[in-house]
């Protein structure tokens, strides 16, 4: 009994040592990160009050009254903001749709089960990787210089980033399909396009749509800040309001954005659930 107990105690001690080592490493990394990020606990503590007081100021009109006591004064620019919000949504839609088409075309070219040529797959994969890794707002910064201010650079930035993100997800879907229908079409003499149209597409389309909708949700959120760099949408108005300390405007616009994003999320979730149900009924 005693040797067994000793083995047990040793095993526990070894695990404890391992956990302690892991914790120490984590703490060290955290300390380094705090050093790197200029964290000053005392400043944070002293200024933490600013956080609540900032939200308190957000809830006050210029007159000193609370915003909800006078909604017409609070939402004085509602018509303009709704217009900009609509522009933001259209930007997200255009960018997502264009990126969807791009990802759709490219995903077949980098799927192992459809394309033999290694270099073509490699090339397309690297292209998608670059599109996906460079954040859309960096593309927007560059495009603003090339195309000028306005929604055009924003849409292009979203489109390129979406191509990268969706292309990768799509190719993963395509690589996991059942290959029997593809072989069937090939056996009856179908060419590459016919194989994709009649054997691959029916298997992947609902998945693609679902991913596209999910990306649309992400892009709506992203499009709200593209205006920060002059690429159109409601972000321009928001950053001006924040920088000039128009507190009531900031809270009004933020609330609009939140409601809009949450509504889009809910809507798209409904559609995605329906798609899943459709898929389940067919299977």
């Amino acid at each position: 009994m005693v040797p067994l107990m000793r083995t047990y105690a040793d095993a526990i001690a070894a695990r404890r040592r391992q956990t302690a080592l892991g914790l120490a490493l984590g703490a060290l990394a955290l300390a380094l990160a705090c050093l790197g990020a200029d964290v000053d606990i005392f400043v944070f503590w002293a200024k933490l009050g600013n956080f609540s007081s900032y939200f308190y100021r957000l809830s006050k009109l210029d007159t000193g009254a609370f915003v909800w006591t006078d909604p017409t004064e609070w939402y004085w620019g509602l018509r303009r903001w709704l217009g900009q919000l609509g522009e933001t949504l259209l930007m997200a839609y255009l960018g997502t749709a264009t990126g969807f088409v791009g990802g759709f075309v490219l995903c077949f070219l980098c799927s192992r089960n459809l394309v033999r040529s290694g270099w073509l797959r490699w090339l397309v994969r690297r292209y998608l990787e670059i599109c996906r890794t460079v954040p859309d707002i960096v593309f927007a910064l560059i495009f603003v210089v090339a195309f000028g201010l306005g929604p055009l650079p924003g849409v292009l930035a979203i489109a390129i980033h979406t191509t990268g993100a969706l292309g990768k997800l799509f190719s993963e879907v395509v690589e996991s399909i059942d290959m029997k229908p593809v072989e069937g079409i090939a056996a009856s003499g179908g060419n590459w396009f016919e194989r994709i149209r009649f054997a691959v597409l029916p298997q992947v389309l609902s998945n693609f749509t679902s991913y596209g909708l999910l990306r649309f949700e992400v892009n709506v959120r992203g499009a709200t800040v593209l205006g920060f760099v002059g690429a159109g949408g409601i972000g321009e108005e928001l950053i001006t309001a924040i920088r000039k300390f128009y507190y009531a405007d900031v809270s009004a616009i933020l609330l609009l954005v939140m409601v809009c994003v949450m509504a889009i999320d809910l809507l798209s979730e409904q559609v995605r659930h329906r798609l899943l149900a459709l898929e389940g009924a067919r299977a």
Binding site: A37, T133, L141, A146, F147, G150, V155, F228
Partner: protein, 286 residues
Amino acid sequence: MSALRDTLLAQKSDVVLRYPESFRPALWARLNVMLVLGGVIGLYAYALVTLDFDPYRILGGLLRLTDIAAMMLPPTPDGWGRTQLYFEALGQTLAIAFLGTSLAAVLAIPLGFLAARNIVGNRILHFTTRRVMDSVRSIDTLIWALIWINVVGLGPFAGALAIMSSDIAAFAKLMSEAIETADRGPVEGVQASGGSRLERIRFGIVPQVLPIFASQILYFFESNTRSATIIGIVGAGGIGLYLSEEIRVLEWQRAAFLIVMVLLTVAIIDQVSQRLRAAIMGTSRR
């Protein structure tokens, strides 16, 4: 095979007569598809017109873009001093991502338990936690950065806090889902041997969800590295500050160098974290 195909094709009308339901065009399904496609394309055209997309402007912009791409080559930082500056900023970016992720994880764990249906029975508390998290999640990281800059001033600390704020909700949601799907067996075992409520959580649930949490934390660290590269655009520290500066003053070679740095860093972090995640999930499945 081809002989069979030829005979089939020769008797095509006969075959169609014998199996009419296989050859009837699915009218309703087609109409539905047409309607949806028409709606999607119509909205696309409407958006193009409303946002005032001018083909000449697009063409001119594309030409300028090729010029810019040519000016980006070869990517160089122009001098040793600036290289050091860039690498410091890159380190700061990683620090922001790490700090933001850790803070979010630490704060999200209690929230995750609160939002899990099998831990907290109170439905009102459960519902409120979820809705508050939804609204926090709907605000982009850059907006959070602007808000935190007003609180703690310009600099990387505001960036870390912004990443924390935008991640807490998503984190808590994932964790609550992991807790909800946890196996009830161990919990009941602890209860049967007289464990208190806290002990049930500590010995029944925590060992099950810890590997999932760890892998989620790594995954968020990956995606936060990307967010942390842009957070400097609004002045919240990291490499984004230099990136936006160099683009604004049209120093394309330096901008390209920074972009390459970001690409490499993200690729390395992805690789490392993927390995670690695979290792963690592997040990959990043992």
